[in-house]
Symmetry: D2
Subunit: 128 residues, 4 copies
């Protein structure tokens, strides 16, 4: 974390967790073989349409933490949307659990698109 | 909104909504007669333990928007926690709906506290 | 200011001042008759190439503050760049003084452009 | 960099560089043997009193970059203040050069303090 993310309570201000999730999502897709810019070049992008976070404990500067990310076990991968699940762990255990839902859109502004094969593959969801 | 809050998609990046909600919460309590610093001086503070947001549409720079905030109709005010509900409206209508849950804690680090009368009153929940 | 901008020292973290300056710059041009989006539509944009800030005192949440902005008396308006000067004042007086220099670029990626009449006029610099 | 730091121009918004510098400063002191929290425990802290940045080129998401940091060759380490110099390098070369000046203060609110031996040592400035 960065010093600037801890507020005057001495703990990471809540909004930064959505920044952490975004970064984790990008890395997750990249590790699945789909760097963000390749997705854009392929003509599609993702928009966040839902987020939820439950905090169990705070993070204090300069504690190190990790973010586990994976496809959400319940909602998973739909026709034009997908859900990810995040667990943030600090030195003393679980800090927060989050869930986000993204829709796939065309970069030309024409709206929603079905999840392309490249993205489905990056999400570990082989075309059936 | 600020220019810096719009990302390269040209829309406000998701995490800033949690910043908007925090600001709206502070103003809501203040309008209820409880400025944030008076709450601290009285020995208690609030910690966010849950947030959820549903986005309907994006906000683009420099669109103006408003945030409606009120006690959540379902969860409302509990013994040591309370829930707020937020609606973000832009020039073209509803942009996002959010819900947050806070717990009340002592500023001396001793943990959760029942909602004090001052806060209950600011939330429009007269002591019964 | 926003609560999230105060760090664990209890004062506004330094980077947010550049956000305040950016907002003040946008409002300054707007009050001079040039809303940011009209500048983009006219085919040009501004890039920050230099900033400097001197802090005299901190801002603490939830102190109110104002930002004075004007064309810098020394560097002023050049051929393809202009300099602004900022003074941030809080409840106890001067908090910070800043200076920024912007270059004008074409939005088509073709690089620097001379300051257009529309912008010169917004900066209060009548074409000579 | 993080996706959220790139604005609608597609480049890292200027204020984040001050965040990068702060992070580099913390790491620099840590590598010099003074973790930030040990400095606080020793009863002193640092306040930024001056910053300046010159940008040569933009950073685009998701370009990787590095920040070189060292004691400023000109102003260096004074009685109660010290100056650092930063160079930000991206994939295509130098992106920005910065300079910051910090004063040392007591954490008990009693104001400026001479640079303590622990900090002088971390800055590579052996007590003479």
């Amino acid at each position: 974390m960065r010093y600037l993310e801890a507020d005057q309570q001495g703990v990471v201000f809540n909004m930064w967790y959505l920044g952490y999730f975004d970064e984790a999502m990008t890395l997750f897709l990249e590790q699945g073989g789909l760097p963000y810019n390749r997705m854009l070049e392929a003509g599609f992008d993702v928009h966040l349409v839902h987020s939820e976070i439950d905090w169990k404990a705070p993070l204090r500067f300069p504690e190190e933490f990790g973010v586990e990310v994976g496809v959400d076990g319940v909602d998973g991968v739909g026709r034009s949307s997908f859900a990810l699940r995040f667990v943030v762990r600090g030195p003393a255990g679980e800090v927060a659990v989050g869930r986000t839902v993204y829709v796939v859109v065309a970069t030309d502004g024409s709206g929603k698109r079905p999840i392309p094969a490249l993205l489905a593959s990056a999400l570990g969801d082989p075309p059936g």
